[in-house]
């Protein structure tokens, strides 16, 4: 829907990717766009991720705003060379002469009973790259508003779409062309005892955990990070200043995860506000298993509840 709005209002926006045309994308995210805007502006690419990223660089440097789809996050790696070495630094190394207003959309995370390499959450790899934004919406409304913002942004944005929310969540969204701000958190639930920071599909489990904590008399504030890089430090520090406790929840592996960066920010700038050590609830430092074990990998509500309670015990 955000694609359609922006293509209607900005002729420079083009959609490219594998199966985005007649088929409308394997998750139906681009359904109907080719019929509406034609084969030039909605193009199936050859089956090659480096092609998708590299041609986006060229198109963006020369007047277009590509919105590219990588079919699954596990297939993004051939594109990384182009993203790291060109897309992210085109503006920097040409001193602003050439730029890359590209959006790369890709499904993120597991829990959809998918085959191997279809359930990855490797956002950390992207967040480590200077010069790109990494965004991960947590609802259809935020997907709409943040995607519009990403397309309008003059710099590259990696747009990670939580795969299990494609199907799990239905919401009426007004197609009014109103963007949501990048680089800002969203407070999904206000609370006073503990801050739970998360993003993407894990907002579902985290909000459930907040309800359970509430039943135990613990008031949890839930923050949807939304833009994973750069991080909205101010909002997190303000919340921690209020609650004195921080639990970071993510599906991605724990080691050097985005949670580590958030913990470091709070350690640097909010240590004296903390009444208890920071807790991280994350995926294990293993390969995302095939689907028989995926729900043993993805942090569950109980792990989040237990971590939050740990910050409240002496």
């Amino acid at each position: 829907m955000a694609h359609g709005w922006e293509m209607q209002h900005d002729d420079r926006v083009v959609v490219i990717g594998q199966d985005v045309g007649v088929n409308g994308g394997v998750f139906r995210a681009t359904a109907g766009l080719q019929a509406r805007f034609g084969k030039h502006r909605v193009q199936d690419t050859p089956l090659a991720e480096a092609t998708i990223a590299g041609m986006s660089v060229g198109m963006a440097a020369h007047g277009l705003k590509p919105v590219a789809e990588i079919q699954f996050m596990g297939f993004i790696y051939p594109a990384l060379d182009q993203i790291v070495n060109h897309m992210s630094r085109m503006r920097y190394r040409t001193r602003g002469r050439l730029t890359c207003p590209v959006v790369i959309r890709t499904p993120h995370g597991g829990g959809i009973h998918a085959p191997e390499h279809h359930s990855e959450s490797t956002e950390t790899l992207l967040c480590h790259i200077p010069g790109i934004r990494v965004v991960c919406p947590s609802s259809p409304a935020r997907a709409y508003g943040l995607l519009l913002a990403a397309i309008r942004d003059p710099d590259p944005v990696m747009f990670l779409e939580p795969a299990r929310l494609y199907r799990a969540m239905r919401q009426e969204v007004a197609d009014d062309g109103r963007a949501l701000p990048l680089d800002r958190c969203f407070i999904l639930r206000e609370g006073s005892d503990v801050t739970l920071v998360t993003w993407g599909a894990m907002t579902v489990e985290t909000l459930r955990a907040a309800v359970e904590l509430d039943a135990r008399g613990i008031s949890a504030e839930v923050i949807d990070l939304a833009t994973l890089s750069p991080i909205d430090s101010e909002a997190i520090l303000a919340s921690v200043a209020k609650t004195g406790r921080l639990v970071i929840v993510h599906e991605a592996a724990r080691n050097v995860g985005v949670g580590a960066e958030i913990a470091a920010i709070v350690a640097e700038h909010g240590l004296y506000d903390l009444a208890a050590p920071i807790q991280r609830v994350a995926g294990f430092d293993t390969v995302m298993p095939l689907f028989k074990l995926e729900h043993d990998y993805i942090p569950g509500v109980q792990r989040i509840v237990d971590a939050a309670r740990l910050t409240l015990t002496d």
Binding site: N23, V26, P46, L47, P78, A114, P115, P289, L290, G300
Partner: protein
């Protein structure tokens, strides 16, 4: 101007779609016991494949990539290889894998979301399924490099799809194999469709076989629905490779009679007339006709074989369905030869929060 390079691509077909020989048959094609064996394997693949699709439709299997229509290519390749050769499959070539000893239960276990399906009891040196497109072609070239360095008379065979030929890794593999004259054979299964994208939108080349030209290696196109042509061509390429003659690229022209996977609906992008037409050229009928005409196969044998396959399939499905959920330890136990301390700790966390009972059923020590 002088011409400095020219190329031609040959097309091979031995058995036409009516079961008539249209070229000189190789020796195995007139050995009816051999042909019966290949035909049985093709039928077995098709019946098992149908069962796997059915299991997915009834919620008993994950997303599954059907091999319907690819049986001649799969069995032709399998029959041409030696057991000691190495196969680098994509994710649709169960016929070749089954020929090489991969069991139906293993196939179902993998597509049922359990890595134990990759731990083949036979064909232990073959690579596992490979979902990241085209990456396996370099593994095959690497295996071939190992055989060359270790002076072992073995070959590697890599499959790739028509869509996969757009990936850089594919060209890199061809280039390396050509430059080092590696004992590897690349088989492009051109089934016309990369999910919703037809070959003509993938590339402007007339054939995919001619992609060999830029790598300086031979390329040939064969009727991928003709098991004789596939086997004969792959066997010749393997023979050349084994004798130090270097790699070959083989394009087998076939058709994906199924959806891309069970998660796909090809009705959205494919003309049903095209599929109907493709059914008239499918690979099983011609072999059956050929055998029947030679008096080497009968309706009674067909029925008996189908029943035998059904029994085998039922037993495999039964084994698969009664298999236990893997232990949560399985997420940790095979990541490193020796488990680092942080994983030992995380394994404990996983046990504590296992979603069903039996999370520690593998009997591993607690690591404390």
């Amino acid at each position: 101007m002088p011409t400095v390079a020219e190329f031609k691509i040959e097309y091979k077909r031995i058995l036409d779609f009516k079961g008539a020989l249209v070229a000189k048959p190789p020796a195995f094609a007139t050995d009816y016991e051999e042909v019966r064996g290949m035909y049985r394997a093709m039928t077995r693949e098709r019946l098992f494949d149908a069962k796997a699709v059915n299991l997915q439709r009834t919620g008993q299997l994950g997303t599954y990539a059907s091999s319907l229509g690819h049986e001649a290519t799969h069995i032709g390749v399998g029959a041409a290889m030696r057991p000691e050769d190495v196969l680098a499959p994509v994710y649709r070539e169960i016929g070749t894998q089954m020929w090489r000893g991969v069991t139906m239960t293993e196939i179902l276990t993998y597509w049922g979301g359990d890595e134990r399906g990759n731990d083949f009891a036979h064909a232990r040196h073959d690579f596992a399924w490979c979902v990241p497109i085209a990456t396996q072609t370099l593994h095959a070239a690497g295996a071939a490099m190992a055989f060359k360095i270790l002076n072992e008379p073995r070959c590697a065979v890599a499959y790739i799809g028509d869509g996969g030929t757009s990936e850089g890794a594919f060209y890199e593999a061809l280039n390396l194999a050509g430059a080092r004259a590696l004992p590897v054979v690349f088989v492009i299964v051109n089934n016309g469709w990369a999910i919703s994208v037809p070959v003509a939108e993938q590339t402007a080349t007339r054939t995919l076989a001619q992609k060999a030209v830029a790598a300086g290696i031979p390329g040939i196109q064969v009727d991928g629905n003709d098991v004789f042509a596939v086997r004969d061509t792959v066997a010749a390429a393997l023979d050349t490779a084994r004798r130090g003659g270097g790699p070959t690229l083989i394009e087998t022209l076939t058709y994906r009679l199924s959806d891309h996977t069970t998660a796909d609906d090809s009705g959205r992008y494919r003309n049903p007339d095209e599929v109907r037409e493709a059914w008239t050229l499918e690979p099983l009928i011609r072999v059956r006709e050929y055998l029947v005409k030679a008096g080497a196969w009968s309706a009674a044998e067909e029925q008996a074989w189908a029943q035998e396959c059904a029994r085998e399939i039922d037993a495999a499905v039964n084994d698969y369905l009664k298999g236990s959920k893997p232990s949560t330890d399985a997420m940790f136990d095979h990541l490193f030869a020796e488990m680092p301390r942080h994983l030992v700790e995380q394994r404990e966390v996983a046990r504590k929060y296992a979603t069903t009972t039996g999370g520690t059923s593998s009997g591993q020590s607690s690591g404390q």
